[in-house]
């Protein structure tokens, strides 16, 4: 778009040419600039297409390099695939999607025997069953990560069908407390830190980290990051200080998703959460800030453990027993927390397994 008229004066004609130049080059960039920016489950795949492999007979080395990221089920050269001169194209099928994801992230744009590799997902190689399983895994992951159960019974999906009618009605209260935790977070650390590890099959932290710092497109283009908040400067990394949730919290957010019984938060997580909320409550009462203008906050507020009625006598009994035990232990811990702050927080951290 050309500026309407040049800005008067003797130097104007030169400026006019310059602006024309800018418009021309802008049109060119416009056409070529099409970032692949949004990743969905349909785009991702256990299959990776690797282009730019130098034709030096290095298939073995290539596979060895990729195998660092996880077990490989299949691999072969794609002779019929269009390739640049002196390069080959390979297909590598990982056993697990999350391994493929990490391998892609790490190996894309990496130099390999003097040539730059281009790695992308290749979902078009999936069978119907593989696609089906991919979607089911995604379903399961969301259900666990959000402490929910989707009880809509599909024909081919395994799951707790007998409890379908009961639980579709009410939300699991544990998930309510989960989301309450989430809303206390400073939104500027929007799941971007690479240090945030999901002890899970899905290193989603990786994905968002790369997207916040550099969405997947041409390096020459401008990079755009989004952030939430009022007039805070943007950095994709976690801010030190006050608003950053402590590492233990980040870890604890993931723990509930990966214990066997989804309904119950593990004891250690509960203690962590109560401790954190106590600390937060302290913080607010000191600073004097409160989102809630109508209430006067006096001292820290201890959260209540949500009570669950599980429509079942024995389950309720067990839940009450566990709840009471939790209370017992929590009281014990809170009295001794001053003496041993390290051990109570270190213990659950040690138990986590970091998975790549």
């Amino acid at each position: 778009k050309m500026a309407a008229g040049s800005s008067g004066g003797p130097g104007a004609p030169c400026r006019h040419h310059a602006q024309l130049g800018a418009c021309e080059s802008r049109a060119k960039y416009r056409e070529g600039w099409r970032p692949r920016a949004v990743y969905t489950i349909n785009l991702e795949s256990r299959y990776l297409l690797i282009q730019g492999v130098p034709a030096l007979g290095v298939m073995k080395e290539l596979v060895e390099q990729f195998a660092l990221y996880g077990a490989i089920e299949e691999y072969h050269a794609l002779d019929e695939y269009p390739a640049e001169q002196f390069t080959e194209v390979y297909l590598i099928k990982f056993k697990k999607l999350q391994c493929a994801r990490v391998a892609k992230k790490k190996m894309d744009e990496r130099s390999f025997f003097g040539s730059l590799l281009h790695v992308c997902y290749a979902p078009e190689f999936e069978t119907v069953q593989e696609t089906r399983e991919k979607l089911q895994d995604r379903r399961k992951y969301i259900a666990k990560a959000t402490n929910q159960r989707d009880f809509f019974v599909l024909k081919k999906v395994e799951g707790p069908k007998k409890t379908a009618s009961k639980n579709s009605e009410h939300d699991c209260p544990w998930s309510t407390s989960q989301s309450h935790v989430a809303s206390n977070w400073d939104p500027s650390c929007f799941r971007s830190s690479p240090g945030v590890s999901h002890n899970t099959a899905y290193p989603c932290g990786n994905q968002n980290q790369s997207l916040l710092t550099s969405p997947h497109y041409d390096n020459n283009c401008a990079e755009i990051s989004g952030y939430f908040g009022q007039n805070t400067s943007l950095t994709p990394s976690v801010h030190p200080g006050g608003h950053t949730p402590p590492a233990s919290l980040r870890q604890e957010r993931m723990v509930p998703a990966y214990n066997g019984i989804d309904r119950f938060m593990p004891r250690t997580t509960h203690l962590q959460e109560r401790k954190r909320k106590r600390e937060e409550g302290n913080k607010f009462s000191l600073i004097g800030t409160s989102e809630d203008n109508t209430e006067v906050v006096i001292g820290p507020q201890l959260p209540e453990i949500p009570k669950v009625d599980m429509d079942d006598e024995s389950l309720n009994t067990s839940a009450t027993l566990i709840r009471n035990k939790l209370k017992e232990v929590a009281d014990y811990v809170s009295t001794s927390s001053v003496e041993k702050p390290e051990s109570s927080s270190a213990k659950p951290l040690v138990k986590q397994r970091r998975r790549i």
């Binding site: 969905t40 259900a143 939430f228």
Partner: protein, 207 residues
């Protein structure tokens, strides 16, 4: 509107009204900062900036730990609104965002309540491959006992039948799963019969 050549530029500030837990209305800002690579500087349009905001949001939508905040910022409504935009890229990104977050129960219910199924079904006729593929998956994910009458309505099943024959593997795989796992055999049969009796299905007369 053309954005100038700046090293660091605030491209877009969108305010979302947020109602907090005590019923007070506050405003949250989503601010976008645009950096330029040092080798090239070129002007942006507001449309491109919008596309990138949406892309970022759609990618955030992949991670469940962001859902609470996305809901507060009414990003779900934003995605649904973008489905009827003329800009194909915006539709593609919004549809991707919905696909990413619709498995969460709360999000699912919200989308269904907001009559989101209709615009998503309309995306099935898009010429953009990603949009269509995201729409197929989203319809599967949104299917519940209550919504299935809508998500597996006859025109949709018909459409899936056609898709299942596509040369595009991604599309045919997803359509096949839709037909096999989310439709009953009578539903598929009905759709098949319907296409058999239309003009398209009539074979050419033999010489």
């Amino acid at each position: 509107m053309e954005l100038g050549r700046l090293e660091y530029l605030q491209a877009l500030v969108t305010e979302f009204p947020v109602t907090d837990s005590t019923g007070n209305k506050r405003r949250c800002s989503l601010a976008l900062s645009v950096w330029r690579g040092s080798s090239h500087t070129r002007p942006f349009s507001l449309a491109e900036a919008k596309e990138q905001v949406l892309a970022n949001l759609a990618n955030f939508a992949y991670d469940p730990s962001n859902y609470e905040y996305l809901r507060q910022l009414q990003v779900l409504d934003l995605f649904l609104d973008m489905l009827t935009e003329d800009n194909e890229t915006l539709v593609e990104f919004a549809m991707g965002g919905l696909c990413n977050l619709c498995l969460d129960k709360t999000n699912k219910e919200y989308i269904l309540e907001a009559n989101g199924v209709e615009p998503i079904i309309n995306c099935l006729s898009s010429s953009n491959e990603e949009t269509v593929v995201s729409a197929v998956t989203t319809l599967m994910f949104l299917t519940t006992p209550r919504s299935r009458a809508q998500t597996t309505a006859l025109p949709v099943v018909e459409c899936m039948l056609r898709f299942s024959l596509s040369a595009n593997t991604r599309l045919s795989n997803l359509a096949s799963i839709f037909l096999q796992d989310y439709c009953s055999p009578p539903q598929v049969e009905e759709a098949r019969n319907l296409s058999r009796h239309t003009a398209v299905g009539i074979p050419l007369p033999k010489d």
